[in-house]
């Protein structure tokens, strides 16, 4: 039965135990991450050792690690390229499929653009592997890291597309009508009204595309050739043979990069649709 809270009002929203589960859920989600982070500062020689005191030594070691740097740079190059391409294509597709008179093939277009979200990643990975090896075999074309960029672009498109589409859907058509009423032609309406208002959506989509590309492991691992090692692949290659907290330091760096972009995207999305 509903009980009176101290305010003298019945709190109809309360459900016993839900708060406990929520807090436990949060703790469980963050505990492992925090352990990785904290132990990256452990002044110990071995990854399994207990706390030996605070030290930045593993970050210093990491800074001297050429392999880490090379892979981080490759990751950034790939992510930037994939982000730029997928954001441009995603913006165009969102403009073409939102608030428009329905056209034949629009449903199919939206389905194919969002398809990477429903195809299991491992299936995408092996099909891209098969695709690129087929092209290499049939036409003798080897794409190098371009194939990673292309693959990332394709699965980043829905992540860029959806926030932009959402922003567009929330946008008042009368603003564009008002621009046309005030003598702006189609291009000027886009340039001065639609685009500035869409910008938070585009930035949010771009930030998500960047995270998704920067973090990708499965697809990259299957299609990457020798020497094409992105940061997640580099970490993977070190899991079994690095036994020092340098691994924690690497993981922390990777996490912090994605967390920065998540917060960026979050703030942009939350920015009032005014």
């Amino acid at each position: 039965m509903a009980s009176f809270a101290s305010t003298g009002k019945i709190d109809i929203k309360r459900q016993t135990g839900f708060g406990f589960i929520a807090v436990a859920c949060l703790v469980a989600l963050y505990l492992p991450i925090l352990v990785v982070l904290v132990f990256s500062f452990n002044n110990a020689m071995s990854i399994g050792a207990s706390w030996q005191g605070f030290s930045l030594r593993w970050y210093v070691t990491l800074m001297k690690n050429q392999g880490f740097f090379d892979s981080a740079i490759l990751s950034i190059v790939v992510a930037v390229a994939a982000t730029v391409m997928s954001t441009i294509l995603g913006t165009m597709a969102a403009l073409a499929t939102t608030r428009v008179k329905r056209w034949r093939g629009q449903g199919a277009t939206m389905l194919i653009i969002t398809s990477p979200l429903i195809v299991p990643e491992i299936v995408s990975a092996v099909s891209l592997l098969a695709f690129f090896s087929f092209i290499a075999q049939a036409f003798g074309i080897s794409f190098g890291i371009l194939k990673i960029v292309l693959a990332h672009t394709s699965f980043c498109i829905p992540f860029a597309y959806l926030p932009i589409k959402a922003r567009l859907e929330g946008m008042d058509v009368t603003l564009e009508n008002a621009a046309a009423d005030l003598y702006a032609d189609r291009w000027k309406t886009f340039r001065y009204v639609t685009l500035p208002l869409l910008l938070p959506g585009i930035s949010s989509g771009a930030a998500l595309a960047f995270i998704v590309s920067f973090d990708d492991f499965t697809i990259t691992q299957l299609i990457a050739g020798p020497g094409e090692t992105t940061l997640p692949l580099f970490i993977w290659s070190r899991i079994r043979n690095i036994v020092t907290p340098e691994l924690n330091a690497m993981c922390t760096v990777l996490l912090l990069v994605s967390i920065a972009f998540i917060i960026l995207s979050f703030v942009l999305t939350k920015k009032k649709q005014d």
């Binding site: 008042d172 009368t174 603003l175 009508n177 009423d181 005030l182 003598y183 032609d185 005014d274």
Partner: protein, 367 residues
């Protein structure tokens, strides 16, 4: 630019709406509408929601193309021009101020699109801010403004390019009553100062009566009557217009004779009245007369030329009161009386009264 929008010699433009039709799929939103709007006129499209008034306005603005018919501005056909090539500006219902621009940028937007110089834009923006009495608001963000201020900025923005025609789509509907009243006066003033033709869309009959030079009453996609506020209120063309504008009593009867714009009607309730006739009414047959509550007189029961009624309810309005009464044949009547000292006291529900209809005030409608 070979753009009509750039020619700004004349102030208010004249508009001819010629047999305009608009279909949305199987739905006919605007049905064969023809209206002539004079230069420098405050013209109102009045009707209930869904009557086609907003669709007509959108065709004037250029957001919809007519399915058939033509729209002329100062004699030239603009039906095919996109909105950005028409010297017509709109004040939108929700104002549609650009949230990412300042007040001044909003007001200057149209001029910027027309390629005016920065100096000219800034001068006009100042002028417009003065016109709407918000001189200091130029650098503020439009999201910080109150509803009434946003309304003024929307007006200033639409007036800044000095259009030949200003369209206003229920611009006062979001304001509270007091603000609405003062904006009505403000709008009228702006129209007189700028000498621009205003076309105002509303569903509020009082608003229409207060501001307009002429009103077109619309229903079901058709124009039912065009006329001055006085014409429409005193001489409604049909039952819908009479019922939509103000409170009205309808009485059934037989027209026995008519001459010189008036006729004699034997009302079903037993009295005979002399009422005004519209041109299109036949000279005899069954008719309906409309008589406004304030035109009815309350007299002692049994008085000559009056009909007996029973008071059912008295509603007090401050400046006046409405007496709802019922005639012997079951017809309901409303009588409005101004409250003043010495007014007939002691009127009670259930009391018998007499109701008299003065000659030549009621209007005969075609049945």
């Amino acid at each position: 630019m070979s753009n009509i929008a750039s020619s700004q010699t004349a102030k208010g433009g004249s508009v001819s709406i010629l047999s305009v039709l608009k279909d949305f799929g199987n739905f006919r939103a605007v049905n064969d509408v023809s209206i002539e709007i004079r230069p420098n006129e405050f013209f109102t499209l009045l009707g209930p929601s869904g009557c086609g008034k907003t669709t007509l306005l959108r065709m004037l603005a250029g957001f919809e193309a007519p399915t058939d018919g033509k729209i002329l501005l100062d004699g030239s056909d603009i039906s095919m021009l996109p909105p950005n090539r028409r010297p017509i500006n709109t004040v939108f219902q929700n104002y549609a101020l650009f949230p990412h621009m300042t007040v001044a940028e909003n007001i200057g937007f149209g001029l910027k699109m027309l390629g005016k110089s920065a100096a000219e834009i800034s001068a006009t923006v100042k002028e417009m801010l003065r016109l709407v009495r918000l001189e200091d608001a130029g650098n503020r963000s439009v999201t910080q403004l109150s509803g009434g201020q946003q309304q003024r900025i929307a007006l200033a923005r639409a007036l800044a390019p000095k259009p030949k025609l200003l369209l206003l789509d229920e611009p006062l509907s979001a304001l509270d009553l007091k603000l609405r009243k003062s904006m009505q006066i403000e709008l009228k003033r702006l129209q007189q100062e700028t000498e621009i033709t205003f076309i105002f869309v509303t569903h509020d009959q009082e608003e229409a009566l207060t501001m307009s030079d002429r009103i077109a009453v619309m229903n079901g996609g058709k124009v039912l009557q065009i006329g001055s506020a006085h014409d429409i209120y005193e001489h409604p063309a049909d039952r819908f217009v009479a019922g939509f504008i103000g409170e009205t009593n309808f009485l059934e009867g037989e027209l026995t004779a008519s001459a010189g714009g008036a006729g004699t009607v034997n009302l079903r309730c037993g009295v005979t009245v002399e009422a005004l006739t519209a041109k299109s009414v036949a000279s005899s047959g069954s008719v309906t007369i409309v008589v406004r509550p304030e035109q009815l007189e309350m007299v002692d029961p049994g008085s000559p030329q009056s009909v007996d009624a029973t008071v059912e309810q008295i509603v007090y309005f401050g400046t006046d009161r409405h007496v709802h009464a019922r005639l012997g044949d079951g017809t309901a009547l409303t009588i409005r009386q101004q409250n003043r000292p010495g007014m007939r006291e002691g009127l009670a529900e259930g009391q018998k009264i007499g109701v008299a209809i003065p000659p030549r005030v009621a209007q005969i409608l075609k049945d």
